[in-house]
Symmetry: D2
Subunit: 396 residues, 4 copies
């Protein structure tokens, strides 16, 4: 194929270029998460949704596909079938998003990789460490693009935070604290609700509920911004409120590369907290604080100076690299859909570059990769082992 | 045409239904604003951009159109030509967005209305009151859908505020204060920048610069939430900092229906304010406060009780009507693009309903209409006359 | 008198020294305001309350005095009597605070000045401009210390703001906005409450109610921080809610020396605002924002840089001069009583210096003076005249 | 002695009455903390400082005493001497505050108790559990008033929080999180500073530095508001930044009566945090959040309703009981000195009541008592043992 997707003379440093056509995206899994992600993909104008496996019931799959304006012949009832058929089409999908329940991630990702189709898989990457490692290997062998849906790392202020740390803005890191607090499981009867049940069923959700869902976001964000791998943890799981088969709350002590200590907390029973993902990194010369519920601002402190408040937007402390991820002018708020769109924009560039035979540098397409997904699965696994051992320090 | 766009059995009270096809949107005007709006339109999945008049230079028009993946034959170099050609096509655009410089709004809107194509026009609607009134009349005659780009009124928390007022939540309104503060004109040399020059050129921008751009947003929001028409004002225009042909700052006393007093302020020279659109409505039993830079929260006070902070999302004080405009869960932030998307969603419903021969109720598709656009032009005009008279009270 | 109050070798640049004895303070007026101020005076440990005219009824005066642990012979039923008796005592009061209703300020201040006793008078200084000017003259003739109770100017962050402006931190001032919003007059029946009635009685409160009480605080603060005199205004008074003999709300356009424009607003019917005194000063290079309800932080913006948030305390952007007014460590909050205590501390130094025959430099004892009090009365007077004229521009 | 301190007919429910004389306060320990407390004591107008043991060097003791206007004969060079002499005087001190370095608390408290003088002792109460328990016993035997300086529990919003919990406002408690973050030990060389050295010297500071200083405040606050005793913990101590003989940072998992889980964190190396004492209590029906750096507001959430923000002041969700501790009107900020003053006010009432032979009910004089101080020492001790054991769960 001589089609070139990226323009001739673009710069890896500049803004993201238009492609010669919209990339074709397949959707695997038909819930609310896929709708949000498709929204974000469309927002970039680098993708169009052209095929889907939205249900295992063929009629339901076609019906849902029609809502997405998909032609009936590209509405599949199984992802295996979809991978095969799409790989065979000249206009087959360039990539798929996988947003099935957790226990199907591995099989789905594998089959699309093997069909030569790039993948963006939701977190947790898999329910088993071995599966996650298999996917890392497979992606390495095939050279496919493989992103993981840690969209929180795609907020501009998080990228700015990462840059500040990397440039030594807070000195040597001394401690890292991260928490993700929600409140929607507060009602005593919530665990029986249909959309909640699968999240508490170990067969589907995996060995954890809260940790695998939101705890892993927290862990990823901490490593992403600090640039430090989490190496050890001790965890205690709790069920607050009504009895449940899996934890709804977890507290952890953590240790990062270089023996940096920290804490991590995740719960869904903290009334008044909706998206309370809060990261705090403290170093020998300063500190950084960010809160998802106030995602447009980054508190950056140089010890001995007034606190600084950096706002998403242009200039005023925002780097050129971060500005690449900015759409609306300063003061006009952006949110989670735009964060997802940043991920889809970077993914589009990586997919296009691969097809054009170019290696897009990580600094330009900084979306989370399969190895970060595998680190997340190891984090979950270590937390389960630590909790089972009464909270012993456990290697990740 | 027997094609039906809306589904058979939808409810005007419920969520917005899928349409039987994506509506076709034409873009008139090729700047950053059209890009934001197209992004928002795509986000709804109820629209696709299919034609454009993106430049008066035919080559440039085609070139830009290609960036939007438009076929060359639907890239027009004039909106007159576009209106004619699209009206003649069986797959012609259902509606256009008009985002040209201000002085072209009238002519463009007129020509599309006359061609039977629905319109969403940026604010200020026109530069002359007579033109605005002509558009109101024309829209009434043709029965076309005619929206105006007061997107600030499409934030969920603003809709919630409007409902609270309408239901008597703050009692009888005593005073209304609104301001829109920005800071990007602070640098002494900014007025010479190419993208700024037209905003200070009376031939293009009209009789005002700051008032017509952001002051009119403030005035619209105040009326939208309070449900009260602004009837009179006294205005003083200022040029702060470097000399400029038009005002960069304006202060006003205002009066609303029922003799309710208020103030209005707009400036682009308030360092530290990016999107400082702030509305405060105080009544005999309570008050409401909202700030664009913190758009996800609405402060609602019942006098004598603790302050309440309502967050965008589901439940917790958010009405079913407001929830219709909510995509991301509570705590996962939304922003200006989502506000625009709310406008495009409601516009899509109104356009689809008209084509289906149904009148969509205002409570279901509450986007700002041509008469609100005309009120904005009268507001600008009154402010110019008041300022010229040394700040006399002037009827709107 | 050979007694020296200040120590031998103190520096006008350093912290405030201990005095050789506590200064003796007389209290004129027995309401809640005097209690707050006495609290603040005690807090400095530079004052003790030793005499009072706390009621015009001799029994009541003694009774109240007993609550303050005053000896019966120093509980006076008239301030004339008090001035005479205290001036004659070897241990007579060094200074008095005057916190009577407004219409008695002039007579009281005059009689103490004439008796050689220093004065701190509440605002508004007087109800008439001529009276205010007479007090300025009298203070100049006698060389007495004469402070005025604009305690808002004694918050450390306000002092820091003033310094930043003076040092050019925000460049040339372009506009000044100040407002004081309260909500306690919201209930329809509040005007009949005993403690409210006098505030709405022109014979006692003077020609205004809200303007003279809180508007004058706002006006003083704006001039204090900006270093610019207010020269002109146009004002409109309103009665929101229940009818009242005097205004409860006022809106103004203002002009400061050098033709700097601004706005000023004061109201007591803004539900959700308790102490909403907010100052915003914008210049050619940056801006400053401060809010009484968040008095420990000062937003300071240099255009083009991240916002800075300066916190009361030591270092981190706080000048040595400001630190002189800091008691509790950073992060341990201070409030309005400490602001009053700053005023009483500076007053003590000025009184002691005068008695020692030394002129304390204004930069060391920066409390508001009688001429600032007179400026406040002229501001009130101009606002009354402007409002009466239908809001014409009126010289102050 | 037939002197009665409290008035005849006061109510235990009402505001705190004037006493027939100011109580006499002795000061033991001459640093900055005693100055703050004396300031607060004076603020109540229920106390005067009349004697002190401000240094073990007699000359220095007299010199410092002179700064406090103490007569030379009541400036003692040892607290033993002071206790004896003051107990013998007819006008001897009614109570002492003990603000010496930690290792002297026990001996000082004991000697004053034995002399019949009431005590307010700084935290940590002692450096040894046995000493703390001995003081509890001694206070019980003598019936003396014995307060402990956990002043954070005397903020009105904390008292309000405690009431809300007690009345079931958040339902059954599910989890408790508390942290105290400061940043002043961030500089690498701070540990050598003279005023810091003793805080890191185990002989003076006791077995911990950060935990005993600020961690114990956090632990007390959590129990105070939740009404639940902390029963177990697992702790890890850290030295972040420059090496130090004692921990500067500690992380804990905690367990409260009824098996309620929680976390606790204390550090002095969190740049950007000055007084970051933050308490969060989450229950089955709602949540409470409070932050010392924003001490005037209490976030109170009933799940399913808008967040509520209660402000210190009168009405608007503040109980009559809490209002007793309010001086300045709503919107006029109070701070840490006022919190201390609340403690001294309640202490005065308790001391006066004891002397009058009355038992003041705990609900009226809710200041922290010696048993709470002993609980704090046991908390510190358990944290040391847990840390030494590698973070094992340890009974308190």
């Amino acid at each position: 194929m001589t089609e070139k997707l990226l323009p001739e003379n673009f710069e890896f440093e500049g803004p993201y270029p238009r492609l010669s056509r919209r990339l074709r995206l397949g959707v695997v899994g038909g819930g609310r998460i896929s709708a949000t992600q498709a929204t974000a993909a469309r927002l970039t104008d680098r993708w169009e949704v052209t095929a889907g496996a939205l249900s295992s019931d063929p009629d339901r799959a076609r019906e849902r596909g029609a809502e997405w304006f998909l032609p009936p012949e590209r509405c599949y009832a199984s992802f295996g079938e979809m991978a095969k058929a799409e790989a065979a089409r000249p206009d087959g999908v360039d990539a798929v998003m996988i947003t099935t329940p957790n226990h199907l991630h591995f099989e789905a990702a594998k089959v699309f990789l093997e069909a030569g189709i790039d993948v963006l898989c939701d977190k947790p990457l898999t329910n088993e460490v071995a599966e996650a490692e298999a996917l890392v290997d497979l992606a390495a062998q095939t050279g496919q693009v493989f992103g993981v849906g840690y969209a929180m790392s795609c907020f501009p202020m998080i990228r700015q935070a990462r840059e500040i740390v990397a440039e030594g803005g807070i000195g040597k890191i001394n401690q890292i604290h991260v928490e993700f607090l929600q409140d929607w499981m507060t009602p005593e009867d919530v665990a029986d609700a249909p959309h909640v049940k699968w999240r508490l069923d170990p067969k589907i959700s995996g060995p954890t509920s809260c940790v695998g869902d939101i705890g892993t976001h927290a862990a990823h964000l901490a490593s992403f911004v600090s640039g430090l791998e989490m190496t050890e943890l001790r965890a205690e799981f709790h069920v607050c409120g009504a009895p449940k088969p899996l934890e709804d709350t977890a507290f952890m002590f953590t240790r990062y590369a270089g023996d940096v200590p920290g804490t991590l907390m995740a719960t869904r029973l903290a009334p008044g907290n909706r998206g309370g993902l809060r990261l705090r990194v403290y170093g020998s010369e300063g500190g950084l604080e960010w809160d998802l519920e106030n995602s447009e601002r980054l508190k950056f402190v140089r010890y001995g100076e007034p606190d600084r408040m950096i706002s998403r937007g242009h200039g005023h402390g925002v780097s050129a690299r971060t500005e690449r991820l900015v759409r609306a002018a300063r003061g006009f708020p952006e949110g989670i859909i735009e964060a997802w769109a940043n991920l889809y924009m970077e993914l589009a560039m990586a997919v296009a570059a691969r097809k054009d035979g170019i290696a897009a540098p990580q600094g330009w397409v900084g979306f989370p990769r399969v190895d970060e997904g595998a680190a997340g699965v190891r984090f979950i696994d270590a937390s389960v082992r630590s909790n089972a051992s009464g909270g012993a320090w456990t290697k990740i």
